[in-house]
């Protein structure tokens, strides 16, 4: 089976909801209960169960910052600096790195919520950033 186009892969990052932050598309292992991001059927990192044992699961796009860092320079192609990198413990368990939608360096413990920062032609979410929870809530009005 051919690998999906990178854009198509990115389009599976999140599902929009009628209101509130988008859900992240993750999985829950039916063998051991582990929730994980991103979605994949290759195998559970805790128990090794694969394929159908890994059920798609909507993970709440909300979590708590465990660390933040303003990146002042970056050599990556097409990556502008500065931007703020975040380490986030999602409310549903997984630990992820993501980008802050905004400036500054939020303190550990700050609540953040996912925001759809980019969509494809069909309205699918291709980029998710996280914003301070009160700001994300305000922006959803």
């Amino acid at each position: 089976m051919a690998e999906p186009h990178p854009a198509a892969r990115r389009a599976v990052i999140a599902d929009r909801r009628p209101s509130g932050p988008p859900d992240l598309r993750g999985i829950r292992c039916t063998a051991c209960g582990r929730a994980a991001f991103p979605a994949q059927d290759l195998g559970c990192e805790r128990c090794g169960a694969d394929g159908a044992a890994l059920r798609p699961a909507a993970l709440a796009g909300a979590g708590t910052v465990s660390a933040a860092a303003i990146v002042h320079r970056h050599d990556g192609p097409g990556i502008g600096a500065p931007f703020t990198a975040l380490a986030i413990v999602l409310d549903d368990g997984p630990f992820v790195h993501a980008l802050l939608d905004g400036d500054g360096s939020p303190a550990p413990g700050t609540r953040v919520e996912a925001v759809a920062a980019g969509t494809d032609d069909d309205g699918g979410v291709v980029e998710v950033r996280f914003a301070l929870a009160e700001r994300a809530a305000g922006g959803a009005e």
């Binding site: 990052i13 320079r73 990198a85 380490a87 630990f95 980008l99």
Partner: protein
């Protein structure tokens, strides 16, 4: 089976080509310089060497023979070893295993590398991520620094103090990439990279080579090597990442792997005199000395400030200058650590000698993540190797 329960393995020769910025010099010349120095140091000939492992990450396929053939084509087994930053450490581990198992009596472990574009296999896994290419090693360690400062009340100056110490050590190392002492103000005021990490708190990645020769006790006697200069390898531990949640996986891996190595060697953390560790970024040293048990959690900054990890302190950490100052050419780095620990345990480290050093450890983590820890012990003073 523990390494210590197998046939004893000794480091009998060490050699380096200085780590430095990328030059036009072919890797072959860098590598041969290190190997010839190691052979001279051991007082043996190339024909005495029965196998070779080369740690290398960015030079392409089949690196060893185009280099080692210039020592005379003896037909010995040659193998390249890639394990990210820990490539040289893995080459050394394999060489030790081969001697301990009795397969060979004398084996070369070396590393050689030059900067070049590299692709990380994880990027080929076909899985999306939220931040993709935005998260590179310095980003990850800047995040760990932020978390460490929040948890323990450490300051940017506490983290920068690691770089100040290691630049001071590197200034005394003729093989170091960076050979200049730096004040706290210089380190803190240098170009910002990410979070509180400045350029001088991030290791230079250049070119270089390192070589060590390991041998059995029988070979030491047969070749007439000086027993007092032979350093025994008493443990080799290697692990890969488990699931640690939001904890620093590098620190957790370091905790597990160092504990395993010290247990195998029968050494307590308080019995370690010299440590070479993976200080690619300044924050790592604070986390790893705690994870290794050299001090309690959250104590590293205070202990560092008190001079405990200086040369001449309770336990010298990165007397070579570490990755921050000696440099991180990647393939050679883990082998260069073994060379420095050996030099220290022989008492031959000159003006960066840790007084009375008897037990040393070498530690690397690598992308993946993997961790490798070796424990080395000095020969007893009456000249009989342990």
């Amino acid at each position: 089976m523990k390494l210590r329960e197998m046939r004893p393995v000794y480091v009998i020769g060490i050699g380096l080509h200085r780590y430095r910025p990328l030059s036009d010099t072919p890797y072959v010349r860098l590598g041969l310089t290190a190997v010839r120095a190691a052979l001279d140091d051991a007082g043996i000939a190339w024909r005495d060497v029965q196998g070779a492992y080369t740690g290398v990450t960015r030079l392409g396929m089949a690196v060893s023979r185009p280099m080692l053939r210039h020592l005379g084509a003896t037909g010995i087994p040659m193998t390249q070893v890639e394990n990210a930053s820990a490539s040289g450490s893995s080459a050394f581990r394999l060489a030790c295993m081969e001697v301990a198992a009795g397969v060979s009596d004398v084996v070369l472990a070396m590393g050689v590398d030059k900067p070049a574009p590299v692709q990380r296999a994880e990027s080929l896994a076909g899985l999306p991520s939220l931040a993709g290419g935005h998260i590179v090693p310095f980003t990850k360690y800047a995040l760990l620094a932020d978390e460490y400062m929040a948890r323990y009340g450490a300051s940017p100056a506490d983290i920068a103090a690691v770089a100040v110490k290691n630049h001071r050590n590197g200034a005394r190392n003729p093989f170091a990439h960076r050979r200049k002492e730096r004040t706290p103000e210089e380190v803190l005021g240098d170009r910002p990279i990410a979070g509180h990490l400045t350029r001088l708190q991030c290791c230079p990645v250049g070119e270089g080579a390192a070589a060590v020769i390991v041998a059995s006790g029988e070979a030491v006697d047969r070749l007439g090597a000086d027993r007092a200069r032979c350093v025994r390898v008493t443990a080799s531990a290697q692990r890969s990442e488990e699931l640690y949640g939001p904890k620093s996986f590098d620190a957790e891996l370091t905790r597990e792997t160092t504990a395993a190595a010290l247990a195998d060697a029968g050494v307590a953390p308080s019995g370690v005199d010299v440590v070479e560790l993976h200080d690619a970024f300044s924050i790592e040293e604070l986390q790893y000395v705690e994870a290794m048990g050299l001090c309690g959690e959250g104590e590293a900054a205070g202990r560092l400030r008190a001079g405990e990890f200086d040369i001449g302190g309770r336990c010298a950490v990165s007397p070579s200058g570490g990755l921050l100052a000696m440099g991180h050419p990647v393939g050679p780095t883990g082998v260069g650590q073994i060379a420095e620990v050996t030099r220290q345990l022989r008492g031959e480290a000159g003006d960066r000698q840790q007084p009375g050093a008897r037990t040393g450890i070498a530690h690397m983590v690598g992308v993946g993540a993997v961790c490798i820890v070796h424990v080395l012990e000095a020969a007893v003073r009456d000249g009989a190797a342990r």
